[in-house]
Symmetry: C2
Subunit: 416 residues, 2 copies
């Protein structure tokens, strides 16, 4: 048994709440659990939720801190002060680089769930990881600590699914990986986004990059649609979208077509289309007749429901998984590796909705695999570079079971 | 021949531009023509347009003035200074009361095209005119000058159509007047309003009042729909709406059912519905995450095209008219009295689109009828209280011909 590893969670949104609960449930392997964000009261609310639900396995408290995560020195000082071994960064994607620098300086393991975004740019040119995160790979290697990038559900678990898909088929036979993300749940509001609207809409307003025929292809959002009959959630439409995982998978797996598909209902698309066409999703300020300078997107955000307020009444399920096409024993086949999560079950367990749950459980599983040395690789990696089996097995125990649908039927995926 | 009558136009929007051109074209009957608004540059642009198009019948210039129309004393001082005989108020509906007070104080004739609105109230309780304008009737009578309320197209010309409809049928036989306003034109933009969005949306966000079975009935906007096959514009949908003219017509005509129907395309309704449901049409300020207080409707206004910018590319036609049902010679019949206006013709003549044109020509016709003593009644009236025949004949000459469709066919309506 290794030493308990102290954890510092950065961020205090819906995903951070899940991370906090799940870390608390594993504090026989972890040591002290800390949470820090710009707004102390949000950390305190999460600490209260963890206490109320009795999530700690061994008696403990969630320590709360105020920190500006864009301030590398402040983050490094906090890490040192609390003697953190692992940082789970689930703050805004704008803070990745500064938090990574703090981890390098203090030789601390690092995990995040989304790619860095420059707040000034709406859409980066591929390859995204190369523009920012991967430039720090050597620094992590030199520091001898592990950085696992994008280890939420998507990116994250779906990267592991991609690796498992490649391993499932004959060597170098996989032609297509289609990652499909469907939220078939209902929040009961006229319209809402599942994450911060500012971040959420950024995903859909730029150019869509996909990996096709071993090259980047560009499309417009909502230009290419597919329809699948999926387990539990049934027939669902999804649209070719740009997404983090493509930017590492195309480097690490020898697969000519890797695409990401995001599910949207007709109603969501209509509202989104109206807002976009009117210019209300713009980050460029406009001036009102009274001379007030306003960023329209910030006003849209102000009138939309707070995503964290949706959890209590969220019903239904999510289905996220990879369709993988290749040959097995020379015979062409398509399999589907996937997870089904339930919004109400997530809320009952950790007080968050299913989308936050699927994003928040995996980084804790990954942190556990670092703590138990199985994933402590001492450098920077994306998830598909790691052995997927212990990860999948651990997620099966932690509330995110993986299933596979292939020629042999539909069953839990569990490794010996 | 009476003395030339000096005219003061209040307001400098799209309708004011039409009024200015049409007054200039009749400046053998009018004397000096003045225009005043809060923003002098907008008056100067209209003066330039009138000069550019050579609209003055006799050589003259359009005199421009800056005035705050909410400041009764400033308006009265301007009226006195320029010796105005007639004020045509086509400013915001918020300024009616202050401009009327200035006219009473200076014994000046007054015309407007829309009912007063209290900027703090989204929807008044009926009867609207009684709440404000009609309280000044005795003051106008005592001053011995004429005030004609709501003499645009609707209200205004449609009030004359209502009177003509009642005169067309057997005495007291009219059961239904349905006023239908269809803009079948296209501005080529994704979405735009034809008037100031703040004023425009106010019409559709409150309760809809209609006069049915001799009583006020309330509905929600877009709750009740009708479909008509109309001359020139063809099959069109329209929705039961609240509108100014019902609030005088139900008093002045003995008709049990008087309704107003506004035409909307599916696309307009969809965009409007999304904005309304999201709370983006609200006049109540919201606070952004950054702490900025903003009125959502003002941001929507800021991102929408300026209505005056639409004119140059506006194509297609408007159809506004009254379906009137009654008995003639004991036999039940329905007639349609209406006007067709063309956006491009309006722009070619006066530099405005068709909606502004239909609203701006009638008050000038009414001012001419005051100047020539035919409508100089020396008190406050709504249009249906006046003889409609000279008004209709004059509009036929001024670019807004009236047609009638009845058992005898479809023809120009012209009185001997």
């Amino acid at each position: 048994m290794t030493q308990p590893k102290n954890v510092l969670i950065i961020g205090a949104g819906g995903v951070a709440q899940v991370v906090a609960h799940k870390c608390a449930m594993a504090n026989d392997i972890f040591g002290e659990i800390h949470i820090a964000s710009r707004t102390l009261s949000k950390c305190e609310a999460i600490a209260q939720s963890v206490a109320d639900k009795g999530s700690f396995k061994r008696a403990a408290v969630l320590h709360t801190h105020a920190v500006d995560a864009l301030d590398t020195q402040a983050v490094a000082a906090l890490i040192t002060k609390i003697d953190a071994d692992i940082v789970i960064n689930v703050g805004s994607p704008f803070v990745n680089m500064s938090v990574m620098d703090a981890c390098i300086a203090t030789k601390t393991h690092y995990l995040d769930t989304a790619i860095y975004e420059d707040p000034r740019k709406i859409c980066e040119t591929p390859p995204w990881y190369e523009n920012y995160e991967w430039q720090k790979r050597d620094a992590f290697k030199d520091a001898g600590v592990t950085a696992i990038l994008g280890v939420g559900f998507d990116p994250g678990v779906v990267n592991a699914y991609a690796r498992l898909g490649v391993e499932y088929f004959d060597t170098d036979s996989v032609t297509d990986i289609d990652i499909i993300d469907i939220n078939a749940g209902s929040h009961g509001k006229y319209f809402a986004t599942n994450f911060d609207p500012e971040i959420n809409f950024r995903e859909f307003t730029g150019v869509v990059y996909s990996w096709q025929n071993n090259a980047w292809q560009t499309n417009q959002m909502f230009e290419v649609k597919r329809t699948d009959d999926l387990p539990v959630v049934g027939v669902q439409n999804s649209y070719l979208s740009g997404h983090d995982e493509l930017h590492s998978l195309h480097k690490n797996l020898n697969v000519p077509n890797i695409r990401f598909w995001m599910g949207f209902g007709e109603h969501y698309m209509n509202v989104f289309g109206v807002l976009k066409n009117l210019g209300l999703l713009s980050e460029q300020p406009v001036t009102t007749a009274e001379g007030l300078e306003v960023v329209p997107l910030k006003v849209v955000k102000a009138v939309l429901p707070d995503p964290s307020s949706l959890a209590a009444n969220y019903t239904g399920k999510t289905c996220i998984g990879n369709k993988v096409k290749g040959t097995k024993g020379g015979k062409e086949q398509e399999i589907f590796i996937y997870n089904i999560a339930d919004h109400q079950e997530a809320y009952a367990e950790v007080g968050s909705q299913g989308i936050s749950y699927t994003a928040g459980v995996p980084p804790v599983a990954a942190a556990l695999l670092i703590a138990t040395e199985q994933w402590n690789v001492g450098t920077m990696v994306n998830v598909e570079e790691l052995d997927a089996k212990p990860f999948i097995n651990l997620l099966n125990q932690m509330g995110l079971p993986t299933r596979i649908r292939d020629a042999d039927g539909d069953r839990l995926l569990q490794f010996a």
